[in-house]
Symmetry: C2
Amino acid sequence: MGLPAEFSLIARHFKPLAGPGSLDLRDDAALLDPPAGRQLVLTADAMVAGVHFLPDDPPDLIGRKLLRVNLSDLAAKGAVPLSYLMTVSTPKDTPDAWFAGFAAGLAQDQATYGVTLLGGDTTSTPGPISLSLTIIGHVAPGAAVHRFGARAGDDIWVTGTIGDGALGLAVALGRLSDPTGFLLNRYRLPQPRVGLQLAGIATAGMDVSDGLVQDLGHLCRASGLAAEIEVEAVPLSDAARQAGPDWLTTCLTGGDDYELLLGVPPDRAAALQQAASRIGVAVTRVGHFHSGPPEVMLRQASGESLALTKGGWSHF
Amino acid sequence: MGLPAEFSLIARHFKPLAGPGSLDLRDDAALLDPPAGRQLVLTADAMVAGVHFLPDDPPDLIGRKLLRVNLSDLAAKGAVPLSYLMTVSTPKDTPDAWFAGFAAGLAQDQATYGVTLLGGDTTSTPGPISLSLTIIGHVAPGAAVHRFGARAGDDIWVTGTIGDGALGLAVALGRLSDPTGFLLNRYRLPQPRVGLQLAGIATAGMDVSDGLVQDLGHLCRASGLAAEIEVEAVPLSDAARQAGPDWLTTCLTGGDDYELLLGVPPDRAAALQQAASRIGVAVTRVGHFHSGPPEVMLRQASGESLALTKGGWSHF
């Protein structure tokens, strides 16, 4: 008896991604022996065509982004990635080449980040491609960095540059030019800061996925603090600077950065910089936390605060 | 500063479902301390409106079915459920009452099955409601039951009754009458056989989600055996019998049963029956495995085999 097409598709494209405990994706469930003496860290993100990526984005980049947005959440907690489960719902007319490209992108990033596929599900959908990925990592017990935990006087640091993702989306939508392709690539292919040592350095942390201002608001609420951003200190890429000052608000409030946003006591600045240099990423101090009701103030060098009409991205 | 609507929705409807390690769903990732000395068992299933449920199905039943189809996979491995992550993608005009009903259904079944929500993601979608759930359970190391492992001479057993789910879908589509509502309820609300002791009893097992014949084919391929079903032995509900013989093929090949399909050596039949009685579920011997190339033969009491044109459900 032959295998139905669904299983043939899994065997062709997803089985090569499967790692230890996956039972070659041929059972109803996977097995995981938790690393001894470690605490597991788990997170799940969904991505939908037309919302989180564009339907005609290259499928390998869609696969890589799906994995990377989840890796970014683990990185923000200081966790070591281990493996993942994934569900893939696609229209019936999705060509085989789409799956091949999607899986090739995953394979590439699995090698980069040292994770393997543990299990999942493929289904059809009458709607747009809908993807969901649950990733599992681990930390020393109690060592995970949280959104809460920042203290008044802690500095606020970010990795990399801020705003490229939102500008890249504007490029993809034809609203902004991008001669080098840098911004579009930043939108399509986040760089999760996996491996950045946070334990003993950051008092609080998260990744910037919904915009710097909104996400810093989360840290403020969770930690019961106010935050002040020094606008001119926010690291912008050359491409973002070339977009001009009209795009500054987009950089500060747009989503899809997937850089880390951290609270770090001043006396640990050097430790953070050393940790960052070990993984080859820049870190920049952009402000500080202080006592007060949770809010984010954007202070300009002129001394005036920058007012925003839109705080960040919400799906509802 | 106020919370965006997305976070308010999570706080209202999903935070009450959140358990230990979830950090009240207010962080980027959840924590899980693996039960000492146990092996984790993980599985993920997606459900899409118009494919796995009907768009106007009651939202509490959609939530319960989403949880139960995953619980069923754990049950088929003999695993104890622990917690789950979930992603929920909904159209922007989805009313708040839908989320309230969906969460109420989950809450009800969380209490029944002893699981809690660990984390997840909510997003919008321009398409139908798309749900994905990853569930985590645990077993004694090496005790999980797999699709492989059946041996020639093992009997084939099923829990409950077969075919009600597929007939219930026919009812929902207006193709079959259902005076008591039994079949429709069986389609909408699977009964995962959580807690059925399989270790030391079943040599192989899975849940019947894509149809008895197709799923038995999986056990055959995984175990390298042929199977013979005694058609008249397949347990049908009174409602399925009343549908008449024209629906027999649907019962044998339809999906959505979520009963367990097990390989059990003849000398463990009593142990299986005792284990089943402890959770109040019927078990029925429906055939046996024998040496030969992987195939499923449907033997009738007349001695003739029943030929099928459709082996089961595939999404592609």
